[in-house]
Amino acid sequence: MSHRSRSPARLLVALLLVCLAFDLIVLGWGETPSAIARRLFSGTWGTPYGIGQVLFKATSIAIAAVAARIALRAGLFNIGVDGSIAVAAIAVGAVGAKLPPDVSPLVAWPLLAIVGFVAGGLWAMPAAVLRARFGAHEVISGIMLNKIASSFVGYLLVRGLAEEASVHTRALPRGALLTRLDHLGAMFHGLRGSAVNVALLVAAVVVLAWSFVARRSIFGRELAAVGASPSVAEASGLPIARHIILALGLSGAVAGLTALNDVMGYKGYAEEGLSAGVGFTGLAAALLAGESTIGLFAAALLFATLSQGGLSINARIPMDVVDVIVALLILLVSSGEGLSRALLGPPAPAAKGPTSPR
């Protein structure tokens, strides 16, 4: 499958083409590409605050990307990550607000992480079961569950979860908030004002842990077998339905961990639309990164940069240009192999062969 294998050369060509497209769009809008690019850079990597914001956004994107990648390993597209994220956020907000005011972080952090994990995983269950038992397409059921999730969250907030006269849950006690990086020491003082917090470390651990599980564990290999060919995997005795449910469930559960970053690390409460769209960006990052671990970190940073940078260029050119660029990049990377073959003739025999997953 083409979304698993990546060649650095093709990736580079795709990036160059996308930069060209960006230039053309900017010129078409009537701005100079270099000025917009400079603005994009200075709003992100140009200041300590910008770097902090990029890292903050990359945290959620990386976690969501791992969630997407878990499902992708089994050949499934978990579009429902956004729904899991929304429901996990409200669950963490609701449980967190009920904790005693003097709760210790040693209790609150793991407890709320488990709440987010379980809530996200539970929300993925309908799509998982529909896929495993009835063969219902997970992309369509994922979209439907995302829509249902946003109504559900709205319903819960209106029916008592929201603080009086507001649209968000009551504030989490101090002990349930994740430490901002700028509070960790003089080294990080420059990040002040940005929302980057220790959830960044959680994201890094999640990425590395899944890479290890995917490659080294029997479970990871079995998922890959299911993803490569369900019929072959079934013939060799793997319980396909169970693996599909596990893959989508674990995917949703990991997605729920984004609540650590957005609810416990940033807002301190849950509200409707918090971290909306992060799941989709995570899926895009996972598609771009293929199977590579470094690629996943790079893709998360790239999309976080574009998302934060979009805000700083929005005054000059609509930030939606970023979505266009990301879409073109995914299109080019996913169809690059076939297109280059169609345009440049067949590749050297050595480059040929099955592109089956490792």
Binding site: H3, A136, G154, A284
Partner: protein, 298 residues
């Protein structure tokens, strides 16, 4: 409950079902040829914006309709080429196309109308009466040319698959590409043709939305492309049954609108109705509906 059995409700269900009908026919064209098409959502979106830009710049909604169809075809061709020539995974391509459409239409909305949310208002193909009674709504829906364009989409699709050489070729490359190729049918060209038909139908669906709401608003397709695709699957990839599923989804959405101002049921829960119905339909039909044999294998 009695309000469900009125002429107004029937008219409303039909009206809401129309864009689903058109988009579902698009889905059938593409998927019967073997090309998985989650890009219907984005195609509806560019169709809707195409209709608005065409109408505001030319002054004629008919030109707007034409622009919608062209925009739909172009976007579907990108999808078709990425999948057929680029050998991209069809779902990856569809996801990227939907993102392209969502970002691209918002970008164009700002370049044309300097607005982040919606376009100025446009006239529809014919002026609709403001009478809100059930019979007037039904009559105006039935007299609207865009209704008949959707009906034409369905009729042409049904006719093409049963009577025309092209339609039979589409079915052949979707069921048994190898056999079709042996019989001298070009697989890629036939599939591209089917994808063009998908673009026409889904573009039409988008134009319908724009003319119905007299404007374009950001993200206005609102998941309808996916619901139409669910109708295709629930209908076993057959035009008649898919059309029936679309009307059921239309009725679910009409019921949602009806219940929205009722106080005995929370409106957040009512909002979920069309999506829950879609989920149930997806789960309920499986095992009884068989996808085209070569769907997704290219």
């Amino acid at each position: 409950m009695s309000r469900l059995f009125t002429l107004a409700f029937l008219a409303q269900s039909l009206r809401i079902g129309l864009p689903y009908l058109a988009a579902a026919m698009g889905g059938i064209w593409s998927e019967r040829a073997g090309v998985v098409n989650v890009a219907l959502e984005g195609t509806m979106l560019v169709g809707a914006l195409g209709a608005v830009i065409g109408t505001t710049t030319s002054g004629s909604p008919w030109i707007g309709l034409l622009c919608a169809l062209v925009a739909g075809v172009v976007l579907q061709l990108v999808h078709g080429l990425a999948v057929l020539r680029g050998h991209a995974n069809a779902i990856v391509s569809g996801i990227a196309i939907n993102l392209l459409a969502a970002g691209g239409t918002r970008f164009l909305l700002r370049s044309f109308y300097d607005s982040a949310s919606n376009s100025p208002s446009i006239p529809s193909l014919v002026r609709r009466s403001s009478d809100a009674s059930g019979s007037a709504l039904l009559a105006s829906t039935l007299l609207d040319p865009s209704t008949w364009l959707v009906v034409t989409c369905i009729a042409v699709t049904v006719f093409a698959f049963s009577r025309t050489r092209f339609g039979l070729r589409v079915l052949a490359v979707g069921e048994s590409p190898a056999a079709a190729e042996n019989a001298g049918v070009s697989i890629d060209r036939t599939r591209l043709g089917a994808v063009v038909c998908a673009g026409l139908c889904a573009g039409m669906a988008g134009a319908w939305l724009a003319f119905d709401q007299h404007q374009f608003s950001s993200g206005m397709s609102g998941g309808r492309g996916f619901i139409a695709l669910a109708a295709v699957i629930a209908g076993g990839w057959r035009p008649g049954r898919a059309a029936f599923a679309c009307l059921v989804f239309g009725a679910a959405e009409a019921a949602q609108i009806l219940f929205q101002d009722q106080h005995w049921v929370p409106h957040h829960l009512v909002q979920m109705l069309p999506y829950v119905v879609t989920l149930i339909a997806l789960a309920g039909v499986i095992g009884r509906s068989r996808p085209p044999a070569a769907l997704g294998r290219n």
